[in-house]
């Protein structure tokens, strides 16, 4: 009763004074935060669009407009294309492994058990730990000496020791392994949420109709998880396209740049070689590819919400 009275009174007061006060409060709250964020993000973004078209070789010098020259270099020197391509396929490989393994883990965790929480903690903790704090163990285990780290198992089993950092295959393998170890937790939890959201009566109906386990997975589970899969893949690829920390810590792009990726090159061109104009052009190229993926993701999300 009182609530209705209040509401009526509130509505009668609304048109002028109250409305104006709300608008003022809203702008007083929003503008400082948004302006501050724009200074730290929008200004660099705009400056970055300009940077790619300049020659700028040291922080103390001034950028010089050279038009499309950096982009001509980017598209004519095969090394850059190779780096971009490796960023994409290595990212996709890591992401595919992560998606499949996290799905398997989600299926395994989708049971009722007292020890489930323990297992969930074990697979999730790598993700709440800093990448810079956990890669050192991998470096130590990949010691090339025959009696050190993982080589010790190989040699004790009668195999030959592997000089890990001389092999592009093994370095890629360990980069992908680390990536999955570090990122599988959240993906598994998202899958698990999706699995638990599927109506259990669908499975019951299928069982009555005589569907076996694989048929249930094929016709109920997978279609029910379509958007979750899209979500994991597309948000994952945005992360994978910016991935360079794992490469930097585990392989440094070795052997001979065979595990190098474009993002790591951007970091080196910018912060070590101070070839800032070129780094800007590389950033724009990689950024453009990433934005295409991100827009694809947003489009899917919208379609998901409309349904």
């Amino acid at each position: 009763m009182t609530a209705t009275v209040n509401k009526v009174r509130g509505e009668r007061r609304r048109p002028s004074a109250r409305r104006r006060r709300e608008v003022r409060t809203a702008y007083l709250v929003l503008l400082p935060f948004f302006l501050y964020i724009a200074i730290w993000n929008l200004v660099p973004l705009l400056f970055g669009l300009y940077l790619g078209f300049t020659e700028y070789n040291a922080l103390s010098s001034t950028p010089k407009w050279i038009g499309l020259a950096n982009f001509k270099t980017f598209f004519s020197v095969p090394e850059y294309g190779a780096l971009m391509w490796r960023q994409i396929w290595m990212g996709l490989l890591a992401l595919a492994m992560n998606t499949v393994i996290s799905f398997a883990l989600a299926l395994a965790l989708n049971v009722s058990s007292k020890v489930k929480g323990l297992f969930r903690t074990a697979i999730y903790v790598p993700n709440v730990s800093a990448v810079s704090a956990t890669t050192a163990v991998f470096v130590a285990l990949l010691n090339p000496l025959a009696d050190q780290g993982l080589n010790r198992i190989l040699t004790s089993l009668g195999g030959a020791a592997v000089t890990w950092n001389y092999s592009a295959f093994w370095m890629t393998f360990w980069i992908v392994t680390y990536f999955v170890w570090q990122r599988v937790g959240p993906a598994a939890i998202i899958w698990l949420g999706g699995l638990q959201a599927i109506d259990p009566s669908l499975y019951e109906a299928a069982r009555v109709d005589g569907a076996n386990f694989w048929q249930q997975v094929r016709y109920i589970t997978l279609p029910g998880l379509k958007f979750i899969a899209m979500y994991i893949l597309l948000t994952g690829i945005i992360g994978a396209m910016q991935m360079f920390d794992v490469v930097m810590f585990i392989s440094k792009g070795n052997p001979f740049g065979q595990t190098d990726v474009l993002m790591y090159r951007i970091y080196r061109d910018g912060f070590i070689n101070f070839n800032l104009g070129m780094a800007g052009a590389e950033s724009l190229a990689l950024g453009l590819v990433t934005v295409v993926f991100a827009l694809g993701y947003l489009w899917l999300q919208r379609r998901n919400e409309d349904e």
């Binding site: 209040n6 929003l30 730290w40 704090a133 010691n143 010790r152 951007i266 934005v291």
Partner: protein, 296 residues
């Protein structure tokens, strides 16, 4: 017969999951064991389970010593606390007005939040560094930003930048206000509460869970963000624990004398706070992924 099959299934599930969990936990076990010995002992050992014969806490003494890891540890704590405070304040205040008030330009703010999520960090990382080095009147710069190094190597860089990824939490909070009964705020208004009192006394208290989601996820991601301090600050005493670890870890690839146990001790200390937060607040972390998703 069927009961035996069930036990067998349950048993093999336990076995497989135990092995998987062990593999996931193994790097931490290795790191903790390795941190308990001296460089010389670790170097000669090389086993997969470096169980120390002469266990020592010397590396941890280094981590907590004034000339060692104490300053970066303190910086890490301050940085995580500061960004948690700023992000929660921003999310609650901005989220509240976007959810409740009707004003011209509201749509612009909402679009800006979504658009910011699409822009990859690669586009701003290099130009940000250049602009920070060119901030006028700072670090020996003149009014045009020339001559000095701006805020590069300045400890302020631990606290000043605010990425637009944090706007996601504004969106999340404004979404959560949809299920918050308006009648409570109206009652508070009748009692004479203005905007600030409604937000700080009524909304903030009753929205505890969503605030916890924002605070915990922000604290974790800032504690673990090694990149920003790593890029902007060279001086260990002004840097953070994870940024210093980034320098030490990338140096492990080089030839020369490597002090793994010291790195492991620092890494263990850097992992313990997030680990404890996960143990006690995993509900909020998981809710954060489920609702915001993008953070991970």
């Amino acid at each position: 017969m069927k009961r035996y099959a069930k036990y067998l299934l349950k048993g093999s599930w336990l076995l497989v999951m135990s092995v998987v969990s062990f593999l996931f936990a193994y790097p931490f076990v290795y790191s903790v064991l390795g941190s308990l010995m001296l460089k010389s002992e670790f170097g000669n050992m090389g086993t997969l389970f470096p169980i120390p014969e002469h266990a020592t806490l010397q590396n941890y003494a280094f981590v907590f010593s004034i000339d060692g890891g104490f300053a970066p540890l303190l910086n890490s704590l301050q940085r995580a606390a500061w960004y948690t405070l700023v992000t929660v304040a921003m999310a609650v205040l901005c989220g509240y007005v976007l959810a409740r008030y009707d004003f011209r330009g509201k749509k612009f703010f909402l679009i800006a939040i979504v658009a910011a999520q699409v822009v990859p960090s690669v586009l701003t990382i290099i130009p940000s560094y250049i602009l920070v080095s060119r901030i006028p009147f700072m670090g020996g710069n003149d009014w045009l930003g020339r001559g000095g190094h701006g805020l590069i190597n300045n400890k302020l860089m631990l606290f000043l930048p605010l990425g637009w990824g944090s706007l996601l939490w504004v969106f999340l909070f404004s979404q959560s206000m949809k299920s918050f009964p308006k009648a409570i705020e109206e009652a508070a208004e009748i009692d004479g509460c203005g905007f600030w009192r409604i937000v700080t006394w009524v909304v903030l208290r009753l929205q505890g869970p969503i605030v916890a989601v924002i605070a915990i996820n922000t604290a974790l991601s800032n504690w673990n963000d090694w990149l920003t301090p790593f890029l902007y600050i060279n001086n260990v005493a002004d840097s953070t624990l994870t940024a210093w670890l980034a320098t030490l870890t990338s140096n492990l690839q080089q030839f020369g004398d490597k002090d793994y146990p010291k790195v492991f001790a620092l890494a263990t200390v850097a992992v313990i706070p997030p680990f404890l937060i996960f143990l006690f607040f995993q509900k909020y972390i998981i809710q954060g992924i489920a609702s915001a998703g993008v953070k991970g």
